[in-house]
Amino acid sequence: MARLLVVDDESSIRLLYSQELGEEGYDVVTAGSAVEAVEKLQNEQFDLILLDIKLKNESGLDLLQKIVKDRHDLPVVLCSAFSCYKDDFSAWLADGYVVKSSDLQELKDEIKKVLAKKQNR
């Protein structure tokens, strides 16, 4: 079972993702801030991180840079309400990009795709 870390500052999103992705068979852990995420990353093992770009007073892209630097092999899927960050070059460091939507299928597909890609490596 793949273990996911969902990093989002909105508790409702964290709850929604936990339930939906949990039903898909993933073991989902959540973090409400970059600091909390870093802490969890230091202490636990994950297979993929689902990362919101706009965290309250922090930037998901900064966290992404840190993750890529420290944990080169850990895939990150960016999840944002905005599509404009796709063209921000620091966003390209991620393995996937999903624009938040009420239909979670795209998110689920992207997670599957990125995990499959990781397995093939």
């Binding site: 796709k86 390209w92 991620a94």
Partner: protein, 835 residues
Amino acid sequence: MKAVIMAGGFGTRIQPLTCNMPKPMIPLINRPIMLHIVELLKKYEITDLVMLLYHQPSVIKNFFRDGSDFGVKITYVTPLEDMGTAGAVKCAEKYIDERFLVISGDLLTDFNLKKVMDFHSDNKALATITLTSVKDPLQFGVVITDKERRIIQFLEKPGWGEVISDTINTGIYVFEPEIFNFIPANENFDFSQDLFPMLLEKKEQLFGYPIKGYWRDVGNTDSYREAHHDIFRGRINVKIDEPKQDVVGRDLRLGTDVRLDESALLDGTVVVGDNSQIFGSSQIKDSVIGRNCTIEPGVKLSRCVIWDNVYLKKGAKIVDSVICNNVSVGQGVVIEEGGIIADDTSIGEEAYIKRDVKVWPRKLIEAGATVTDNMIWGEKWKKSLFEGAIIKGLTNVELTPEFVAKLGCAYGTSLPKGSFVLAARDAFLASRMLKRSFLGGILSAGVNVRDLKMMPLPIVRYKLKTFGEVGGVHFRQSQEDPALTEIVFLDGDGLDFSSSMAKNVERIFFKENFRRAHHKEPGGITELPQVIDFYREGFARGVNRDLLKKQNSKIVIDFNHSPAGQLLPPIMNDLGIEVIALNAYVDEERGIKNADERPQSLSQLSKIVTSLEARAGFWLDPTVEGVIVVDETGKVYTAEETLPLMVALFLRSGQKGTFAVPVSAPSVVEIMASEKGCAVIRTKNSERAMIEASLASEVIMAGSMDGRFAFPKFQTGFDGMFTVVKTVELLATSGVPMSVIYGEIPHRTFLQSRITCAWEMKGGIMRKMSEDSLDCEATFIDGIKVHFGEDWVLVLPDQYQPFVHVVAEGKDPKVVHRLLAEYQKKVEKWKKELQ
């Protein structure tokens, strides 16, 4: 009465039928077109002929000679330059002192010429133009006459809006000898453009005589085929040399010594020339077969014109096409309607020639190839477009803008609608031209393009690692030959196209099964200006910045005018490396250096490295994937020396991990790696195989045998720019000069050679090699590698070229030389046995 036959044209519009013969000599039912004209003139008792020749006159002269064999008397006139139609006739003035008829040598007609001559005589005309009515008068000269048949107006090749009559000039004229007074000597003068308008203006006796009957200008290949159809349908009767057979219900004409099996199914009009053979159950309908042809069982011909010395193998299926002299058509070949296969062409088995394709003379079409476009200058039509992940071809000859546009369309069709691809090119104008055409094709399939413009391939690969694009293409000039352009296809991960992806694009291309976007939905082009910053960021993360900054190394790089010359120096300066950049400016008009210019460049680089006391020198290849390394003493490393050197640098700097190297790499790599507790993975020789191997997390470097290296911590693709900086970093870590590290590598002799070998023999050679290796310890990763203790020899067929490689390595130089020679001999012997 005399006749002048105009037979001087170049026949440009009817190429490639006229590539090896003048147009009047093209066979129509196994006889030159002009012979049908001679027969027509004879029928009306015109036997004193003047032939006006210009293009390839000897071919016509050799056939007709003095005309006695054909019951006529022929005088030849060959103007020294193009004099126009009337001007050429003027050159024959001294042979003509009576009323005469002018006719083109490339007409097919059964007009009653006597009626024309009688009309001319009755009206006491100076000139009479024979007129006829046609459905489509646009391509001819329209003529208007009054009630007395006097010509009142000419309209040369009118538009539909201008058409006021369907009566056209047939190119058959009757003149009084006084006409020469109106034609200036030694001047280009045309009947329609100059003479007739002049006569009209001067109110001379110029008449037009409309006549009924069959008339066709055999001016292009469509008209040539249609002329045959008309003969098959009985619309015109022409003389056929081959005698008619007494067969009810069929019009069968057979020449002498024709062999025709009883099981052959013949239908409609079938003409078979002397000494031709038709075997077994061939099906032939409304077709002409020339002399000395062989048709094997199961061949199907419908409405075909086959010239002389043609060999059609079993099961070939040809519809409404022309096969010229000395053509061989392989088993199971299909030629669709409108095909023209010119002289001396060979078509391999199961090839597919699409509708209306014209193949120019002396071409070789590989077995299984699908030819969709006219094949004019290139020598060969390949079965597959791709060589691995690359499509390469002669710029503007094989890879033309229209060809690559179609290719772009096929590539776009293979991708999801609305998806994005990356596109980039090297610094050359040809690459830019072709890339632009290609992008048009992609957009037409509803796929978007992110255009990186001039950008090295490693950066394209690097961006593709991220999300956003489903694939990429890179256009570049070939290093082997500056006349070639290469298109590198990459998948969504920046890896080379897999063979299944390549096959998918090929299948769409050959079947022309394109997805055309709705007019509101074509793809768009955008740019990604931040790509370089993204690459630079990743690059800096991939090396030990602090160490590099501390070391302050000085190195020399020859950038070969590649775009890397603008990108790498700032990155290296940021890392504290002093770069002496050579040929760092981009020059779009400058081609890649020839292979023979390279030693001089390397020698210069070597001198500069030593004189500046640099830590190392690098010659970056124009694709920015590979490097040639020069050490601090000026030694230039060969590609097979560079791979062990890079491994040694890693080991000396204390890094642990696995190295991915091709099967042909020296085994000294394994010896060194195992001493330091590291491992080596052997891969196939293909670029994709090496890059795929480097995806494994334990791999720290993948190295090819041609100076290309990938460092998976940064990116899995080969990257010359990163190789340069990584080498400097490894040198800094080890703290020892490069020459010293190279000196520590265990010395082994490594030899390689290649032997020419026809494609069809490669399989046989490998079978024999495998039989020969039965009792030896052998590995079969790619080719066959036989081990003799620490020594080994590898026999490896080249994937894309007609070669077999023989590689040997060992401790004792004598043994290695013996091994290489022994296996070279074996391959040569097997080649002879397989012939």
